[in-house]
């Protein structure tokens, strides 16, 4: 049997062999191995489908004491490429850290190198995200992924003091998810132009005064001189 099969399903075995040696296997064992591998693969896949938590209630996340009930505005409708498995079902998962090709953003500034795509995206099922504990998380519940690192913000968001509540100030709380405002791949919000400055009363004009210069103490030259 061609060593390529072994290479595909048991790369560790291959690495344990010394370079240059070949592996001789009896043909019956190879067929059996192939069959078992196929069964295993399908078993793994089908098992994965069954094991997908339906909702965050299945998550280990304990929540915050006295947290209010909130409804999160769904994200999936806004995601252009969703469902991701449209393509990814046919693509081999590749966990190697590398720049991605189109149509994905290959730019990932989030974490400045401390994380990469598969830190948040599930390698096997691209229609889900993953938490630090490798739990599956739906795209509409992305905040559970963010909470893994940004716990303080997440707590603020849960209690409504970070992020944006929509529609009302009383009654059912509906909030935007984190990714509504923060692009998880490039989270820094770009500066934009402000609305125009306030007007001056009709008939009067703004006379420019002298430029206000308020230097902090450490910037004044006499302080910096040694």
């Amino acid at each position: 049997m061609s060593p390529r099969w072994n290479a595909t399903f048991s790369t560790t075995t291959r690495h344990s062999l010394e370079a240059g040696t070949t592996v001789e296997v009896p043909s019956w064992a190879a067929i059996a191995r192939l069959l078992v591998s196929c069964l295993l693969i399908s078993a793994i896949f089908s098992a994965r489908a069954d094991e997908l938590p339906e909702s965050p209630q299945d998550s280990r996340f304990e929540g915050y004491p006295n947290a209010p009930e909130i409804r999160v505005v769904p994200r999936k409708d806004d995601l252009f490429f969703y469902p991701c498995n449209q393509c990814h079902e046919a693509i081999q998962p590749n966990a190697e850290i590398r720049p991605l090709s189109a149509p994905h953003d290959s730019e990932l500034t989030h974490g400045r190198g401390l994380i990469w795509c598969l830190s948040c995206h599930d390698v096997a099922n691209r229609d889900n995200l993953r938490t630090l504990l490798n739990e599956q998380v739906d795209f509409d519940d992305a905040h559970l992924v963010c909470a893994g690192c940004h716990a303080n913000r997440h707590k603020d968001w849960t209690f409504g003091v970070h992020g944006k509540r929509v529609d009302n100030w009383t009654g059912e709380r509906t909030q935007f998810s984190c990714t509504h405002c923060h692009d998880p791949h490039k989270p820094a919000i770009a500066p934009r132009a402000p609305q125009p400055p306030p007007p001056v009363r009709t008939g009067l004009e703004l006379t420019p005064g002298s430029e206000h210069v308020n230097e902090p103490a450490w910037a004044r030259p006499e302080v910096n001189q040694e």
Partner: protein
């Protein structure tokens, strides 16, 4: 009815006089008409025709108001010596002083009315029919005390003059208690006006306990200045007897008041500039300019100079006794205090705004015209009142009872 004859005769006296008198009335009337026309422009277009803004929301009108309330209060400087200290010489002229108070209060009230955004809603200030926020609002207090002062200064002279007109002795027990009330009331009108400004912690320039005393001191310096000039003019254009002792008493009061006023100014300057914090921004703007804005700076230094020259003249006895130098000092003090207590008080309270913005204010021609019209109206009012008062006091105006004439 004696009262109706009294009023009728009084008005007739007001409309009688030599050519110069009529020329004066005509001149004042022209200014009043001009001011009224400009006010019509303001009433039709709104206060946008003024130079005021959200940043400096009170301007020339309120500046004149604050100054005139002081002039009105200063009538008490004649009332007290006349009725408490029984100074006969002053008692002879006290009604002229009260006529000035009436004119000054009327001017002050007019200045407030022209400053209102909705003068058509003035009735809202009437208690019961409207809704007067008394005793919490200082403006409500001001409305009441000014109206009361006007009534007092109309009632007392009315009673005294009517008695004289009818040839009878005024009843001491009737008028004296009211006179005493008017003395305290005079102090109260100016104290309430000072509290109007000093009640606002949002405006650190005004939020000082010294503002009340400053108002009284400057009122007692500027009021006598005007009274002295006026009495000198009265002496000149009429046969009314004005003793020199009246003038010298007023000059002495004015000297002390001006000294105290300058001391208060000094105290303010020291307190704000010694350890200059954010609260000193307004006085810094006034005296030294702020952030490149300094339109009031020349005015306040000019005013301070005038006051200092005036007080020096007044402190030198021979100069105070000399008619010419005394009159110069009066004019200087009057103008100096008008600047310092008018624009020099109101505008810096708004610069910088509570949010730190510096926005300057310049009165427009509409404001200046309307103000000139109101001043002319006040002077006109005083002229005609003085004309009638003098005629009655000199005995030239008497109630002629037809029946008694025939029987004689």
């Amino acid at each position: 009815m004696g009262v109706i004859r009294f009023i009728f005769d009084g008005v007739r006296e007001m409309l009688r006089g030599p050519r110069e008198y009529w020329a004066w009335l005509l001149f004042l009337s022209v200014v009043v008409v001009f001011g009224s026309w400009q006010y019509w422009v303001q009433f039709s277009n709104g206060l946008v025709v003024t130079g005021m803004s959200d940043q400096v929301s009170w301007g020339f009108y309120i500046a004149n108001f604050a100054f005139l309330v002081g002039i009105a209060a200063a009538a008490v400087l004649l009332v007290i010596p006349a009725y408490i200290f029984h100074r006969k010489d002053i008692k002879d002229v006290v009604l002229v002083g009260e006529g000035m108070a009436v004119a000054a209060v009327t001017m002050a009230i007019l200045f407030v009315i022209v400053d209102l955004g909705r003068p058509d809603r003035l009735w809202h200030m009437i208690p019961v029919i409207g809704s007067l926020n008394f005793p919490i609002s200082l403006l409500a207090w001001d409305v009441l005390v000014l109206s009361g002062y006007l009534l007092l200064n109309l009632a007392i002279p009315f009673y005294l003059l009517y008695s004289r007109y009818r040839g009878r002795e005024a009843n001491f027990r009737i008028y004296f208690p009211i006179v005493v009330i008017s003395m305290f009331w005079a102090i109260s009108i100016h104290t309430v006006t000072a509290f109007l400004f000093s009640a606002n912690p949002a405006r650190p320039f005004w939020h000082t306990a010294l503002l009340g005393p400053r108002f009284i001191a400057s009122a007692f310096a500027s009021g006598p200045a005007l009274i002295i000039i006026t009495l000198e003019i009265v002496r000149k254009v009429s046969t009314y007897k004005v003793s020199q002792s009246v003038i010298s008493t007023l000059a002495l009061i004015m000297t002390v008041a001006l000294q105290i006023n300058l001391f208060f100014v000094g105290a303010e300057l020291f307190t704000d500039f010694y350890n200059e914090g954010a609260h000193a921004a307004s006085i810094h703007y006034l005296f030294l300019g702020l952030g490149g804005f300094d339109s009031l700076q020349p005015w306040i230094w000019f005013a301070l100079t005038l006051n200092i020259i005036a007080v020096i003249i007044l402190m030198i006895h021979p100069l105070r006794k000399n008619v010419l130098t005394l009159n110069i000092a009066c004019v200087l003090a009057f103008i100096g205090i008008w600047i310092e207590k008018g624009m020099g008080l109101v505008i810096p309270g708004f610069v910088p705004t509570p949010l730190g913005e510096i926005f300057e204010y310049v009165p427009t021609s509409v404001e200046l015209s309307v103000s000139a019209g109101i001043w002319a109206f006040g002077v006109l009012m005083f002229t005609v009142l003085a004309k009638a008062v003098i005629a009655i006091e000199q005995g030239r105006l008497r109630y002629r009872d037809k029946k008694s004439e025939i029987s004689q």
